[in-house]
């Protein structure tokens, strides 16, 4: 065990003590409520319904140390940048912005488009960012969200003015590097998209060598009327990384929010996404794949608040689980009393590639309006024997046939990505992950 390391709760206490001389992302006023919750230090257990299937022991028992944040050389991260060739790249090493590895911030921003580190906001901008956080946040009892809100020194503020289409996607590359002890990263990212404006953001989480890391990001996004935000998350972290993310989104009238999540790495991932509709005609498309091997544990939670009439939501998540890995899908769609003409779809399909893999799926609808269209469903299955045989009967080995069918299962999600190089990159990563699997039980 490295010296000067602490388990997560102790690490938090240390941070609370040392609080005054740090440069925090948010104002003392905003942080105060979060610090109170952090001070109480109550982490969820499996007795909490929302955490029933996901044990946090390993994460909480990590020994957290300070990251030295040596900047890796540019070559080692180039392959990750290639994921999105036609984009602006901003690189964060263990949470900290790396000027040398990133595009020049001044070259990224354009007229009507602000891209700024949270630590460099003017007081007006900070007020605006904190307003977005308040607008987007749906719950107040999430200690991991508070860990970012209360103690984060890092993060990014993106603001698109009204009637502005940002053409170049923004690629946020989060790199965990190897440190003597586990490093903890808790950035706060805030995205505000103005009336009738457009923005695309690709967030990628990767590890160099066998980095041990705990990543606890909190993102807050607000879409004004008629705007569009496409958000992509690609998780490729090492199997000594734990990742608990919280994303809160407010979608304004006639605005559309698209989210794609590809959770292909880490030891433990819990991805919580909460989307609230702030006006009629708002809509969202949520897509995702979790692909587990070994003893990986991948947990996707979604919460959709249909608070206004004429809003649509369309969710489709797929799990591929091999070996002893475990997947969780927990999706709740809440349709409030006055949210008439709601159209909500939720689908979760899982493919178990081994006898020891497991998935817990819990699609939930709570409907209080009477004139709505809601559909949900979940399936857990194995590879289709008839399809395997059909491919075999044409000369394709059973193992290759299994790979083809598994890739095809994933392709039904990835084909909706809409940015060709990102789709190719995600599909290539899914393929290479699948090629590593021992499909012994196919």
């Amino acid at each position: 065990m490295a010296e000067n390391t602490k388990q997560l709760a102790n690490w938090i206490q240390d941070q609370l003590q040392a609080d005054h001389d740090q440069n925090f992302a948010l104002s003392a006023q905003t942080r105060a409520a979060s610090l109170k919750i952090l001070d109480a230090g109550v982490f969820p257990t499996r007795k909490d319904e929302e955490w029933r299937y996901t044990p946090l022991n390993t994460l909480l028992d990590q020994n957290i140390g300070a990251a030295k944040s040596d900047v890796p050389n540019a070559d080692s991260i180039q392959t990750f940048k290639n994921a999105v060739p036609e984009a602006h790249h901003l690189v964060f090493i263990n949470g900290k912005f790396s000027e040398s590895l990133s595009d020049d911030l001044d070259s990224v921003k354009e007229s009507g488009y602000t891209v700024k580190l949270m630590s460099q906001l003017t007081s007006d901008e900070q007020l605006q960012a904190e307003g977005t956080i308040r607008d987007a946040k749906l719950s107040d009892d999430n200690i991991f969200q508070h860990l970012a809100l209360g103690l984060s020194q890092f993060g990014l503020f993106l603001d698109v003015a009204n009637h502005t289409e940002v053409k170049t996607p923004l690629h946020l590359l989060n790199v965990a590097t190897h440190e003597a002890s586990t490093s903890l990263t808790n950035p706060v990212n805030v995205i505000h998209v103005g009336v009738n404006s457009r923005l695309k953001v690709i967030e990628q989480f990767v590890s160099l060598s066998d980095a041990q890391a705990v990543t606890i990001p909190a993102s807050f996004m607000a879409l004004e009327e008629g705007s569009g935000l496409e958000h992509f998350k690609i998780g490729l972290e090492s199997d000594s990384t734990d990742h608990v993310s919280n994303t809160s989104v407010q979608v304004g009238a006639n605005a559309h929010f698209t989210s794609h999540q590809y959770l292909l790495g880490s030891r433990l991932t819990r991805s919580n996404m909460e989307v609230g509709f702030a006006g009629p005609g708002a809509s969202t498309t949520l897509r995702g794949i979790y692909l587990g091997d070994g003893t990986q544990h991948l947990d996707v939670r979604t919460y959709l608040d249909h608070a206004h009439p004429h809003c649509n939501s369309d969710q489709h998540f797929r799990g591929i689980l091999n070996d002893h890995s475990r997947g969780v899908f927990n999706g709740l769609v809440l349709v409030r009393e006055h949210a008439q003409k709601t159209d909500a779809k939720q689908s979760n399909k899982n493919l178990l590639l081994s006898r020891d893999a497991r998935v817990d799926t819990k699609p939930q609808l709570e409907i209080f309006a009477d004139d709505v269209k809601c559909a949900h469903g979940a399936t857990v299955g194995e590879l289709d024997e008839d399809a395997l045989f059909y491919l075999q009967s044409r000369g394709i080995s059973k193992e290759d046939a299994g790979l083809m069918l598994t890739r095809a299962f994933a392709a039904e999600i990835t084909e909706d990505i809409g940015i060709e190089p990102v789709q190719e990159y995600v599909e290539a990563n899914i393929s290479s992950r699948l090629n590593e699997l021992s499909l012994a039980n196919v």
Binding site: A387, L391, Q392, S393, G395, I396
Partner: protein
Amino acid sequence: MLSIKDLQVSVEGKPILKGLNLEVKPGEIHAIMGPNGSGKSTLAHVLSGREGYSVDAGTAAYKNLDLLDMAPEIRAREGMFLAFQYPIEIPGVNNTSFLKKALNEIRKHRGDEELDAIDFLSLIKKQMKLVEMKEDLLKRPVNQGFSGGEKKRNEILQMAVLNPTLAILDETDSGLDIDALRIVAGGVNKLRSEDNAFVVITHYQRLLDYIVPDFVHVLSDGKIIKSGTKDLALELEERGYDWLLEKAESPS
């Protein structure tokens, strides 16, 4: 090419094939006819290596190899092809890349060089004309959204591309209208040669107007009870199966 001797097969303990004998030589077309439940499809499945069938006795040799001991993909690579009665839809697997992969597996097995995308495309386009298939079906997932006739034509297209030495057509005529039937049969006729053989399994004589067999066998209760030439099929068309079944049963 194919030599089946006293083949006895059961499914979940229930005997289906009860001592079947069949000799197929290169250049021949054999039709296997018979009433529902006689074991026609079981024969096709066992020969192609589908799971769930227990071979209780007998042998099946293909090119002097022990067919029943080979994995399905090895049978295919050795030149066997089954045209499915119910071709299944495989969402997400592209029709063209699937067939390219299949062909290259077979070519690798034979020691031939793999075809690249360009050569493969020119091959497949040529063979598509044979079955009068629309090109956009190539871009779709395997059989997904295909009509019944398109699925059967896709089977014949696969057969034309993979160029097997022994093809088994399992009720390929079922559910086909007369135009599709003509196209499918035309495909088979263009592919037949002195080096390959076909086993055509069918319930009706109709298909045999288009694919003229050298031999017709009547399968009943798991055995071939009568063999003859194409005239036997015509006789069956006229008289049905009953007179044969009565004859088969009367000695016992």
